[in-house]
């Protein structure tokens, strides 16, 4: 949390002025018991009515000036808190944009979204409260203590002890209860998990007649949750009674000492009442403080979670040279191996492959055979753990990722489109693409009928492309990559939802592209890749063979097996 505070610098003025005005308000409040003491000693003591009226008006005056101070303080605090959070949100969003695939995999989407939204809101209200109140309460407590000293040093010492005891008790209870609440949260997560699972898996649960068992499990978790809640609740319920007892015992001692001092003529009755009022003020402020601290600890926890995301260093830096004009080879894999973070074994081992400009490479293999891993190395979404990958003759680790990715068109496995018009989406490939260029890409991607069906490029796509079918989305994502006119085009199993005829037409049009890209096609279908210049056969992260369709049929057992399973029909 505390490292985040540097982002409040822009609001340094507000951050200082807010609490300052608040302090002024608190200061005024501290005068109130003194005024009351004067009313008692001078006003009532001498029966001076006009003095009493004057002093009461002074009280109203103090209140009014306090109001003005306070509103000013609220404004500055709100401005600083809101501005600070907006800034942190910006920084975090930018930071997430810099993270590489490795970190994104590790963090997970839902974590990042919670950090950006609910954690942020919690931080905002925490900062706001802190600026408004955190300084005020201790100030009133210590102020009341100092004022007490001006009245009588001996009795004031009681204040010192009481404040110390209170601090210890308040923080003690809090330190005790915070881990308890964390536990409550964990139990709640378990209850939530079970609920969610029972909804997502309702068919399986009912098919296996697991309803009773699941209900029992849920009730068990729920019971644990309730027990944790009750225990945490009882502990934090100690706060109010304990502070109440301490303060009131202090008042008892105060009156006792005060009475003796009045008896000996050291103090006046009004002074004792003033001391008593200060003690009450301390009580009120401490209760506020305790509530405040609970809120602030929550915010700090949220702030820490945000901080921890910010502290993740992107494993791929955004430095390096621009991609040079290529020579003979567009992409070269030299003994490239990949091991994912926290994984025991390599996902991909020892790939050696040189791809000439304009060639089409097919990559085939079973689930988990690392086909996607292989192509993800080209735009440097992941780094190799051994060996290297070169694009246009240069190791990708020496290239600026932005420049590198600008010459590569990727069509990911999951066909993702964004909210906005089809045109907006296609322009992701190239902001300045003309209407003709867009339509040409659409044609090549066999998506012309999608555009027609949707009534043109201005059709609004809903979030996650909900209003399109899988096949329609897939073709539009291909078009999006083509708009880029990339030197290297990667199709990661991106024709899976297309029927064979469309798939064949797509491959034909890719061959006829005027910008002649080097194409990588990942697929599980032999038919999609059998005409490629080279086919890479992967199994379990190992290269089983590289060659043309005919060569592989001849010499690669795995390839033959896959081919036969898909084309057995001819044998019937």
């Amino acid at each position: 949390m505390f490292k985040l505070l540097k982002y409040i610098k822009e609001y340094a003025k507000e951050t200082v002025l807010g609490p300052l005005f608040k302090l002024c308000e608190a200061l005024l409040e501290l005068f109130v018991p003194l005024v009351i003491a004067d009313i008692i000693d001078k006003g009532i003591g001498t029966g001076d009515r006009s003095y009493i009226v004057k002093m009461s008006l002074l009280l109203v005056g103090l209140g009014f000036v306090g109001l003005a101070f306070s509103i000013t303080a609220q404004y500055f605090s709100a401005k600083a808190a809101v501005g600070f959070t907006a800034r942190v949100r910006h920084v975090l969003f930018e930071h997430i944009g810099r993270l590489s695939y490795t970190e994104l995999d590790e963090l997970g989407t839902s974590t990042m979204i919670t950090r950006m939204t609910s954690d942020m809101n919690q931080v905002q209200s925490g900062v706001n409260l802190t600026l408004r109140l955190l300084l005020r309460s201790p100030f009133v407590v210590f102020g009341a203590m100092i004022m007490a000293f001006t009245i009588d040093v001996k009795t004031a010492m009681i204040f010192v002890y009481v404040t110390l005891i209170l601090l210890v008790v308040v923080f003690g209870i809090m330190l005790w209860s915070i881990p308890l609440y964390k536990k409550v949260q964990q139990k709640l997560d378990k209850v939530m998990l079970t609920t969610r699972e029972n909804l997502t898996g309702v068919r399986v649960i009912r098919a296996f007649c697991m309803e009773e068992q699941e209900t029992k499990a849920f009730e068990g978790y729920n019971k644990e949750l309730t027990a944790a809640q009750k225990f945490a609740g009882s502990v934090s319920a100690l706060m109010n009674p304990v502070t109440y007892v301490i303060i009131n015992f202090a008042i008892i001692i105060l009156i006792k000492t005060g009475a003796a001092e009045v008896n000996t003529g050291v103090l006046t009755t009004g002074a004792v009442v003033a001391l008593y009022n200060y003690m009450s003020q301390i009580l009120v402020e401490l209760i506020k403080l305790a509530n405040l601290i609970i809120n602030i600890t929550k915010s700090i926890a949220c702030g820490n979670r945000i901080q921890s995301v910010l502290e993740i260093e992107p494993s791929i830096s955004h430095k390096g040279s621009a991609v040079p004009e290529g020579g003979e080879y567009a992409v070269e894999f030299i003994n490239a191996s990949v091991r994912y973070k926290n994984a025991g074994e390599s996902a991909l081992t020892d790939v050696d492959l040189r791809v000439k400009k304009g060639e089409t490479i097919g990559i085939i293999g079973g689930t988990g055979s690392a086909k996607t891993t292989l192509v993800n190395l080209i735009p440097r979404f992941y780094d190799t753990c051994a060996g290297e990958v070169r694009v246009n003759g240069v190791n990708v680790k020496e290239l600026d990722p932005v420049s590198l990715r600008s010459i590569i068109g990727t069509v990911p496995q999951k066909a993702v489109l964004f909210k906005g018009t089809i045109r907006d989406n296609l322009r992701w490939g190239n902001e300045n693409a003309t209407e003709e260029e867009l339509m040409a890409a659409v044609e090549s991607a066999q998506a012309a009928d999608v555009i027609r069906a949707k009534g043109g490029l201005d059709c609004e796509i809903e979030q996650n492309g909900r209003n399109l079918s899988g096949g329609q989305r897939q073709r539009l994502t291909i078009a999006r990559a083509l708009v880029k006119k990339p030197e290297i085009l990667i199709l990661d199993d991106s024709a899976s939802a297309l029927d064979f005829a469309t798939d064949a037409a797509l491959r034909k049009s890719l061959r006829e592209l005027d910008f002649k890209p080097t194409v990588f096609i990942v697929s599980q279908r032999t038919s999609s890749i059998m005409h490629a210049d080279k086919i890479v056969v992967l199994d379990d992260g190992e290269v089983m063979g590289i060659g043309t369709h005919e060569e592989l049929l001849e010499g690669c057992e795995v390839y033959r097996e896959i081919y036969n399973s898909q084309f057995k029909k001819e044998a019937v």
Partner: protein
């Protein structure tokens, strides 16, 4: 923002609380006692102060006696207050626990049509977030509303008995702060609505961009999306500032009113002191100090109550959403004389079946199908043609609108759901695993299976190999929805699960769609073994599966348009013929 509260929700909440009525009564009594004792302390203090008159004129013995009284009172108050809080916690958390349990039990018996129509997220939100908010509100209501009211009444009573004139000052001035608070909250309502709308917009944007961060990176759109983000962020900043600032005026404003009240009490009280000095019932300095401390205490609950009431309304709205779920109509229960189907032979007959999800869109009309024991039925057709609907009907996840489905000659509506489902083994397109160990997941259908049986099933389903390689083998704990397992591995586990119990009838829904061809070959062998002598329904995409089926159901737009064996259908030259040629013709 505005949440709906249905009439009768309060009654429903009370129904849950009623179980804890003894605790409730206890809580109320303790609250009253606590408040009274708390209010009594200033009176005692006042009396003590009155014994301090001046130098040489202090009744030290009298003061000591009063102080002892204070000590006892304070100690008692503290203990009772803690007990009260604990009791309140207990009531609240138990009520919410009961509601959650009931909601969960309802989820288990709700018809699939409800669960399919309402997103999982929404229902989870009701059971978790809404229930939590309700608990917060209820607890706050218990602890603050009642004590607040008692404090106001108690203070009024004490003040009126001590000095009614000064008390009037307090009574007249205090409601002012309520009006101010009300006024401000009304004025800021629109600002808050704008804020939450903008927040919603931003969350949607964040959701979209972060979920698809990989695509953003692939297209180098980091900067462009940051710009859009900043634009929303700036709007949010400015409307959030307005909402936060204007609403935060409430506190200083009400505090100002309190200060005025305080000054009023000081004035009226001090004047009373002078006026009554020397009379039979003087208004003493001690009483004045007691009054001043009341003035502070009296205004506080007023400020809190308005907050509590909004909170309670909010809580009730949350409870209302939970009640909607709890009161949803469950599926039609099994009739008491329903048959328990045991070791079915596997004859399935569909007779004149009509079914549709929504009345305005007819889906299945007059479907007739006779499947004999051990036959294999392949269901084919383009995506979205209603193939999974058949499964929904066979498993009785949905009931037919008219006509009937019979298993072994009995209408499945006369068979208990459990026994019907136990006779089916199902592998769905969407794999589902629960968080827990691999073992727990595999033995779901047969918790009593031995280790050997489990491993045999895993070997048959070709999952043994990869399970063995996991850190803890069969005892490896997998996270929600399979955690780090690949889609293919998850599918294999789902197949293993069915392998282990091997019921007489099988339902396989595109079960092999995300398994690679080589693994699939192995699995198909296992499937073939599994299907021997078992009636099977397969939502099929693979050619070999279809060809080997006894009956092929060709579906289009929810209708069964063709029915027969592979050769028969090809000869017919109809839709199947076209479909077959477009999907499976070699290139």
């Amino acid at each position: 923002m505005a949440k709906k509260i249905r009439s009768g929700d309060l009654k429903r909440v009370l129904k849950y609380i009623r179980r804890y009525r003894l605790l409730m009564v206890l809580s109320v009594i303790m609250a009253a006692v606590t408040v009274m004792l708390t209010l009594y302390v200033p009176i005692l203090t006042g009396r003590a102060i009155d014994l301090i008159i001046g130098p040489g004129n202090v009744d030290l013995a009298g003061i000591a006696a009063i102080l002892t009284q204070i000590a006892v009172t304070v100690a008692a108050t503290a203990v009772i207050q803690w007990l009260m809080n604990t009791v309140n916690n207990r009531i609240t958390f138990h009520v919410v626990r009961d509601m959650r349990n009931e909601a969960f039990r309802k989820i288990e018996i709700l018809p699939l049509s409800y669960l399919d129509a309402h997103g999982g997220g929404e229902i989870v939100n009701r059971v978790i977030a809404d229930a939590d908010q309700f608990a917060d509100g209820l607890l706050m209501g218990f602890t603050q509303l009642f004590t607040g009211i008692v404090t106001i009444l108690g203070t009024l009573f004490f003040m009126l008995t001590i000095n009614w004139k000064t008390a009037l000052v307090v009574i007249v001035l205090t409601p002012l702060s309520l009006f101010i608070a009300r006024f401000i909250s009304k004025k800021t309502y629109d600002m808050f609505r704008l804020q939450s709308e903008t927040r919603g917009e931003q969350t949607a944007f964040i959701d979209e961009m972060i979920s698809n961060q990989k695509v953003v990176k692939a297209f180098g759109r980091e900067k462009a999306s940051l710009e859009k983000f900043d634009e929303i962020n700036e709007r949010l900043r400015s409307c959030s500032l307005r909402a936060t600032f204007f609403s935060s005026i409430t506190n200083p404003a009400t505090r100002f009113v309190n200060n005025v009240v305080y000054a009023g009490v000081a004035l009226a009280g001090a004047l009373s002191c002078i006026a009554t000095a020397g009379t039979a019932v003087p208004f003493t300095v001690g009483q004045l100090s007691c009054f001043l401390s009341y003035a502070n205490q009296y205004t506080k609950p007023f400020n809190e109550i308005s907050g509590v009431i909004t909170e309670l309304q909010n809580a009730l709205a949350c409870a209302s959403r939970l009640f909607e779920l709890i009161e949803e109509d469950p599926q039609i229960p099994d009739s008491p004389d329903a048959l328990v189907l045991e070791n079915a032979k596997g004859d399935v007959t569909l007779k004149n079946v009509d079914f549709s999800y929504t009345p305005d869109r007819r889906l299945i009309e007059n479907l007739n199908l006779t499947v004999k024991q051990g036959q294999r039925v392949a269901i084919v057709g383009p995506t979205g043609c209603g193939k999974t609907t058949i499964i929904n009907l066979l498993m009785r996840f949905y009931d037919v609108d008219s006509g009937s489905i019979m298993a072994d000659g009995t209408d499945i509506r006369n068979i208990t759901r459990k026994s019907l489902r136990r006779n089916y083994g199902m592998v769905l397109q969407e794999t589902w695993l629960k968080s827990g160990t691999i073992r727990e997941n595999i033995t779901m259908g047969r918790p009593d299976a031995t280790n050997e049986e489990m491993i045999a099933a895993a070997k048959a389903a070709h999952s043994h190999g990869f399970i063995k390689r996991l850190p803890k083998g069969y005892d490896t704990v997998i996270g929600e929805d399979g955690g780090s397992l690949s889609q293919g591995q998850k599918q294999l586990l789902c197949i293993t699960r069915v392998m282990l119990c091997l019921p007489p009838m099988l339902i396989l829904d595109e079960a092999t769609s995300s398994i690679d061809t080589r693994t699939e070959i192995r699995i198909q062998k296992a499937f073939a073994e599994m299907m021997k002598g078992r009636t099977s329904f397969i939502v099929a995409h693979r050619l070999s599966t279809i060809r080997e089926a006894d009956i092929i159901l060709v579906m289009k737009d929810g209708h069964i348009i063709e029915q027969g064996s592979h050769e028969e259908l090809l000869k017919m030259g109809g839709f199947y013929h076209t479909l077959y040629n477009s999907q499976f013709a070699a290139v």
